[in-house]
Structure formats: C-alpha cells, structure tokens
Symmetry: C2
Subunit: 144 residues, 2 copies
C-alpha cells in the first residue's frame, strides 16, 4: 500500500510525537531502535520529514527530533503520506490510466471510487496527535 519510506516516516513521526507529548526530544538512535528500522536509512527519512516541516530537528549534543505543539494539533496522516508517496494512492486510476474519470472511466473506475474516497477521507481526518496518544497510553504498538 505505502512505500517502505512512507511506512518508516509514519512510524518515526508517531514515535517522535508520542515523546514530544511528554516533552522529550529523541535522537536518531532512539528512533531507529524503537521503530525497528535501519539507522542510516532512517536518517534520510528524518531529513525528509524535517524538510517537509513535519518534524523539527536540533543539531548538537542533547539535540534530536521533536514536534511542536502547534504542528501536533494540525498534522494529519495525509501530510506524511503525501510527503513520501504523493497522493496517487487515492487520486490516480486503479490500472494506471492517465485519463480516467466519471465521463471516461476505466473498467474498474466505479468499483474503486468509494474505496479511494474512503481512504482519502481517513488519511485526511486521522490526526497524528490521536495516534500518538494511543501509543503513549500503551494501547497501540510500533514494533512487535
């Protein structure tokens, strides 16, 4: 469904968010250990999240990554997905046609429409804060 990068991006953001909740800044090491991801590759993921203003990065000793309270309240799952995979998943044609819409549909267009819209809606309404709270409360998990 999502690329590996996007999966790591979501996990990393949620881990950072759940710690920023408690006022804790976390490092690359913390993150890659706690979301069970390759460290060097995760560094790239974090750079991307940082450039997309999804997370904030601080260099130097006691540096690391965090999410501002303001960001936390506005961030949605769709923002992360968009940064890594674009919005093809819920916008583009199920069998890859450039032009595919209600007036000139591909064979699967009508059957995919609802699902795509539901996915879009879910991603756009799911807040990072809510997901992070689930983690903080121990109701959900980022690794086995």
């Amino acid at each position: 469904m999502f690329s590996k990068s996007c999966e790591y991006g979501i996990k990393a953001t949620l881990y950072i968010a759940s710690n920023s909740n408690n006022g804790n800044r976390v490092s690359l090491n913390d993150i890659s250990e706690n979301i069970d991801s390759p460290k060097a590759f995760t560094a790239k993921i974090l750079q991307k999240l940082s450039k997309n203003k999804i997370i904030q990065s601080i260099k130097g000793p006691s540096g690391g990554f965090e999410i501002t309270t303001e960001n936390m309240n506005n961030l949605r799952l769709s923002h992360i997905v968009k940064a890594f995979d674009g919005d093809d998943i819920y916008k583009s044609c199920g069998i890859g046609l450039e032009e595919c819409n209600d007036s000139k549909p591909c064979p699967v267009h009508s059957r995919f429409k609802n699902i795509r819209e539901e996915l879009k809606r879910m991603l756009e309404t799911t807040s990072i804060l809510d997901l992070a709270n689930g983690l903080t409360e121990g109701l959900t998990f980022l690794k086995h």
Copy 2:
C-alpha cells in the same frame, strides 16, 4: 496501489476477455497495442497469466490468447491481483508490522481495517466477465 505488472495483467486479461466474448483469439501484438503497454514486457505478463491458468495460450500461426467460457464465469479481480502482488494489499499491516491484529494493533490498525476489508470484498466479488462486458459495450476504456 498495484504494481505495474499487476496493472498490465488486469488490462491484458480484460482485453482478452472482451475479445473471447466475441469468440476472437488475440495475439501479443494486438494486446500490447490495445492496452498501450511495452510488448516484450507484456509477453512476460501473459506468460504469468497463462501459468496461473487465468488465460489460455495457443502457439503457432492463428495462435494467441483467450479465456475459456468456464474461466470467464469464475474469474474475479482478486485472482489476477493475487497472481502478481499477492494479497498483502488487503491482508498486511498498514505500516508494515509483522504482528498486527485486533489484540496487538499498530497505531493505524483500527482505521485501516474497514478500508482493507472493503477492498478485499470488492476484489473478490468483481467478476472479469462483468468488467469485460463494460468494455465490449463501449462503456469503459483501456487506453486514452
């Protein structure tokens, strides 16, 4: 959503189906022209469809590809998707966790559940015959 191979696989199957409807066997050339796909790569796709008993292939002059009436009645979109991409799209965790279920959920588990199930249901109930009929009747399209 699906791999390029899977997209070609669906398009090829539908093109063949819509022609088998009319009793016409179609060649690799026909197919790659009409679904707008690279010929050599499409040959591989057709081999895979053939090995998975989704389509039948006949060698030699006046050979080509077709779908038996029996197959046409039983084939569902899910069969093609499974042959190329497996069933990860509607079975595996949204952020790639090995173990992710109702009793030990990842943060997005509950929000993805319905969508995944709807997708599964759609793929398993959508018949190739119905999709092919839409094409034959000129209601839907495989290329722009």
